[in-house]
Symmetry: C2
Subunit: 506 residues, 2 copies
C-alpha cells in the first residue's frame, strides 16, 4: 500500500526534473547559437548567461531538496512502488547527485575556469605547434582529474571511473580485451591492403564542388534517411555537431569544403545518425533525464552505422550515385558506381583522426586509449606525451607527425578535461557492426532495401530496438536486448575483413 | 558615513540584478529562435522552457529578498550614498516590484493564459474577418486591465497607468494636447496634398525584385548606417523586429516582398535604427535593468528618424540612388533621383497602419488612441469597437474598411493586452522631429553629410546625446537635455509641412 503522499511526492519530483531539463534545453540552445552565428561582441555577456544557467542547473542537481527526494525514493518500500522507468530516473539522478556532491564546490569552480582557459591556450598552442605552452594546463587538468577520482572512488583501475562517465559500466579490462582483439585483426588487414595491387582510383574526387549544390545533396540524403525537418534544421559550423534540445528539435550542422565532395556529405550523414536517435526517443521520456542517448558509445554507433555501414556501402551508391551525378552535372560523367564506391572507401594511414578512414580510425582511438590509461595509472607523465604519441603512431599506423600540431595537440578533448571519451568512437564502430549483424538477420533484404532507397524501414527498426528507449536501458542492456550477447569485437572484425577484402581483392 | 555592509549589500544587489538580466537575455534568445526558424515540433516543449525561465525571472523580481534590498536602499541615508545611476536602478526595480506585487499571482497567471489564447483566436478571427469570435476575449482582457488599474491605482485618467508602462510619465492630458495640435495641422495638409496636381509617379516601383539582391542592398545600407555586424545579424521573419540581447548582440529581422523594393529596405532601416540605439548603450550599464532603451516612444523615435528623416530624405537618395540602380541592373535605368525620392514619399490615406506613409501614419495612431482612451474611461464598450473604428477611420482618414479583418482586427496589440502602446509610434515621430531639429543646429551640414554618405557622424551624435544613456534618463529628461524643451509637436508639423509642400508643390 502506498505511504501517504507518495503520488504527490512523485509528481513534485517530476516537476523538479522537468525544470532541470528546461535549464538544459536553454543552455543547449545558447551553445548552438554561439556556434552557429551569434555575433562575437555578444559572446562575453552570453558566456555569463550560460554560466548563470549552468549554475542554477547544478544547484538543482545537488540541492538539499534533491537529496531528500532521492532518499525518499531510494527507500526500499517506496522504490518498490516505482515503475521501472521511474526507478531508472531515480538511479540516474542519484548517480549524478553523488558524483557532484563529492566534489567541493571550490574545486569544481576552479576546474571550470581551468578547462575554459586551457581550451583557448590549446587553440593557440595547436596553431603554433607548441606543446610546451599547453603542457602546464594539461598537467593541472590531469592532476585535478586524479583528485576527482580519489573523491569519487574507483574499482580496479582509476581510469574506470572516467570511462563510466561516457560509457556506463565500461572498464579497462573490457576495453583491453576488445581493443586487443580488434587490433590483432586490423593491423594485418591494413598491411594486406597496403600491399594490394587493386587500389581504388580517387583522382576524380579532386575537383571543386559548389557549396550550394553540396548543401542540396546533403539535404536530399537527410530526407532519404528519414531525418524530420519539422523537428530539426541543418546549419553550417566549423566543427560539425548534432544537438538534441528535445525530440521535436534536434539540430545538426555541417561544414562544406569546396575541394571535397564527401566531407560535408558523410559528415551530414554522421550527424544525421545522431539526430535520428534523438528525434525518435519516446515522447513519454520528454522532460526527464532519460530523454537522451544512453551513452556516447551507443550514440556513436548510430552516427557510424548511418555514415559507414549505410552511407559507404555498395548498395547505397548503386541507388544514389545517379543522383550525385545529376547534382554535379558533368563532374562524374565518366565515373562508374563501382569506382565511386571504392574511392569513398580508400584506406590510408594518416596523422589526423577526424580525416581517417573507417578502418584505421580505430587505431587512432587505440593510441589515445593507451595514453589515457597510462596517464591515470601514472605510468607516463604529461611532459612525455609528445614522444609517446609519436611512438604509438609509428607503432599503430606507421606514420609520424612532423610537429605536435598534427600530433598530440590535434584534438580538443584533453583541453576540456574529457578523458575517457575517446574510446566511445571505437566502441561505436563495434556496437554498430554487432547491431548491424542482427539487423541483417531480421531484415534479410537489408542490401536490397538500401539499393531501392528504402531507408525508412531501417530507421524504424532502429527506433523500435534502440532509439525509443533513450536512456531507459543502459548500453549493456541495449546491446544484450538487441543482439542477444554482450559487446563482441568479432562482428566489426568480420565486417571490416569482408568489406575490404572485396574492395582491395585480398 | 557608510553603515556597515553598504558596499557588500550593493555588490549583492548588483549580482542579483545581473542574474535577472541573464534570465531576460536567455528568454530573448529563445523568442528570437522561435521566430527565426525553430523547428515547429519543438515549439510545445520550448514554450515550457520559456515559461519556466519567465517564472524564475518573475519570482526574482518580487522575492522577499528583493523586497528587503529595496527597502534598504530606499532608506534616505542609504539612498543618499548611491550614485545617480544606482538610484535610478533602485527606483526602476522598486517600480517593477510594486507593480508586480500588487497583482495577485492567480490573477496574473490567468491573464497570461488569457492573452496567450486571445492571440491565437485573434489570428483566426482576423483571417476570417470575424470580430464576434474575438470579442469575448477582448472583453475579458479589457476587464482584467481595469482590475489591474484598480490595484495599481491611477492619477487623473485610468488610461494614464497603462500609458506609463510604455512611456514613463506620459498622460492623457499631454497626449490630448500634442495629438490635438498635430491633427489640426496634418488634416488640412493631407487635404492639400490630395488636391495637388503634382503627384509623384510611382509606376516604376511595380516590378519584381530578386530577394537576394534586396538582401544585399539592405545589408549595404545597414553598414552605411554604422550597424555593427560583429554585434548583430540580419535574419528573415514574417513580422520584422529588433531584439537587443545585450549591446554586443542586437539582432534584426526583415521580410522580403518580391513585388515591393521598398518594404524590406525601409523595414531594415527602421529596425536598424532600433538596433543602433541598443548597440550603443554604454557598456557600464550591461547587466543592469537600465541596459535598454528608455521608453517605447524614444525607441520609436530612433527607428523612425533613420527610416523617414534619413532614409526617405532627398540627400539620402542623391547619394544612394546610383547604388540602387546598380543593384537592380536596368530596372531603374530611366528613373531620376528626384522621381525616386518623390515616389518613396507618396502620401495616400489607407486602411492598414503598417503600410501607411509617414504623414497619415499619425492619424492611424490617433484613431487607436481615441479608442483606448474611451475603453478605459468606459465610455465605449468592446462590442461597439468595429463601428467606432470605422467611424473614426472615415473621420480621420476618409476611408472605411470593407471588413473587420482590415479594420479593427488588423493589429495584434490588443490581443496581447498591450493597451497604451500605440501612442508610442506617433510620439516617436514627434520626438524624432524635435531631436532632428537640434541635430541640424549642431551639425549644420546635416544634409551635406547624408548626401556624401557620411552617416557615421550622425550615429555618433545620437550615441552621445541619447543611445549611451539607455534607461539612465527618463524620456522627458532625454528630450529636455537634448533639445532644451519638453515634447513639442510643432517640430513634426514643421517638418511634415516643409517636406510635403516641397514634394507636392503646395
Amino acid at each position: 500500500m502506498s505511504k501517504p503522499g507518495f503520488e504527490q511526492k512523485l509528481t513534485d519530483f517530476k516537476e523538479y526534473l522537468k525544470k532541470m531539463k528546461s535549464y538544459e534545453e536553454a543552455i543547449g540552445l545558447l551553445y548552438w547559437d554561439m556556434r552557429t552565428g551569434a555575433p562575437k561582441k555578444g559572446i562575453a555577456t552570453r558566456s555569463e548567461v550560460v554560466g548563470m544557467l549552468s549554475g542554477e542547473y547544478f544547484a538543482l542537481s545537488v540541492s538539499e531538496q534533491m537529496g531528500e527526494m532521492l532518499e525518499y525514493f531510494k527507500e526500499p518500500d517506496t522504490y518498490a512502488q516505482l515503475s521501472r522507468t521511474d526507478r531508472t530516473i531515480v538511479d540516474e539522478c542519484k548517480k549524478e547527485y553523488d558524483r557532484s556532491k563529492k566534489i567541493p564546490q571550490k574545486l569544481h569552480q576552479e576546474y571550470v575556469v581551468l578547462t575554459s582557459q586551457a581550451e583557448s591556450v590549446w587553440e593557440e598552442a595547436k596553431e603554433a605547434s607548441d606543446y610546451k605552452m599547453f603542457q602546464p594546463y594539461l598537467e593541472k587538468i590531469v592532476a585535478t582529474n586524479l583528485e576527482f577520482i580519489k573523491l569519487w572512488g574507483y574499482e580496479g583501475h582509476k581510469y574506470n571511473t572516467l570511462l563510466d562517465m561516457y560509457e556506463p559500466g565500461m572498464t579497462v579490462s573490457k576495453l583491453d580485451q576488445v581493443f586487443g582483439a580488434l587490433r590483432e585483426k586490423v593491423v594485418p588487414l591494413l598491411a594486406a591492403i597496403q600491399q594490394s595491387n587493386h587500389k581504388p582510383t580517387t583522382g576524380f574526387l579532386q575537383q571543386t564542388f559548389e557549396k550550394e549544390k553540396q548543401k542540396q545533396f546533403s539535404l536530399f540524403i537527410l530526407k532519404q534517411m528519414g531525418y524530420d525537418f519539422e523537428a530539426g534544421r541543418l546549419d553550417e559550423t566549423v566543427h560539425p555537431f548534432a544537438t538534441g534540445l528535445n525530440p521535436g528539435d534536434v539540430r545538426i550542422t555541417t561544414r562544406y569544403l569546396l575541394d571535397d565532395v564527401n566531407s560535408a556529405l558523410f559528415g551530414t550523414i554522421h550527424e544525421g545518425g545522431h539526430a535520428l536517435y534523438e528525434q525518435n526517443i519516446s515522447p513519454k521520456l520528454i522532460g526527464t533525464p532519460l530523454c537522451t542517448g544512453t551513452s556516447m558509445g551507443i550514440h556513436e554507433s548510430q552516427s557510424r552505422f548511418w555514415e559507414n555501414m549505410i552511407g559507404r556501402s555498395r548498395p547505397f551508391w548503386r541507388r544514389y550515385f545517379g543522383d550525385l551525378q545529376q547534382n554535379y552535372p558533368g563532374q562524374f560523367a565518366s565515373v562508374s558506381v563501382e569506382d565511386y564506391y571504392r574511392a569513398t572507401n580508400e584506406v590510408k594511414p594518416s596523422l589526423i583522426r577526424i580525416e581517417a578512414d573507417e578502418l584505421t580510425y580505430n587505431l587512432h582511438i587505440m593510441v589515445r586509449y593507451e595514453i589515457e590509461k597510462a596517464l591515470f595509472s601514472e605510468s607516463v607523465s604529461v611532459a612525455d606525451l609528445p614522444e609517446v604519441w609519436n611512438e604509438k603512431y609509428k607503432e599503430y599506423l606507421g606514420v609520424v607527425p612532423n610537429n605536435d600540431g598534427e600530433g598530440v595537440l590535434q584534438d580538443v578533448h584533453w583541453a576540456g578535461g574529457s578523458f575517457g571519451y575517446f574510446p566511445s568512437y571505437a566502441l561505436g564502430n563495434m556496437y554498430a557492426a554487432q547491431i548491424g549483424r542482427t539487423l541483417r538477420k531480421e531484415l534479410p533484404d537489408f542490401d536490397q532495401l538500401i539499393e531501392e532507397g528504402k531507408l525508412l524501414p531501417i530507421k524504424d527498426w532502429l527506433t523500435d530496438k534502440i532509439y525509443q528507449y533513450g536512456k531507459e536501458l543502459s548500453p549493456n542492456e541495449i546491446i544484450l536486448q538487441v543482439t542477444g550477447e554482450e559487446l563482441n569485437p568479432d562482428y566489426l572484425v568480420d565486417y571490416l575483413t569482408e568489406k575490404y577484402s572485396d574492395i582491395y581483392k585480398l
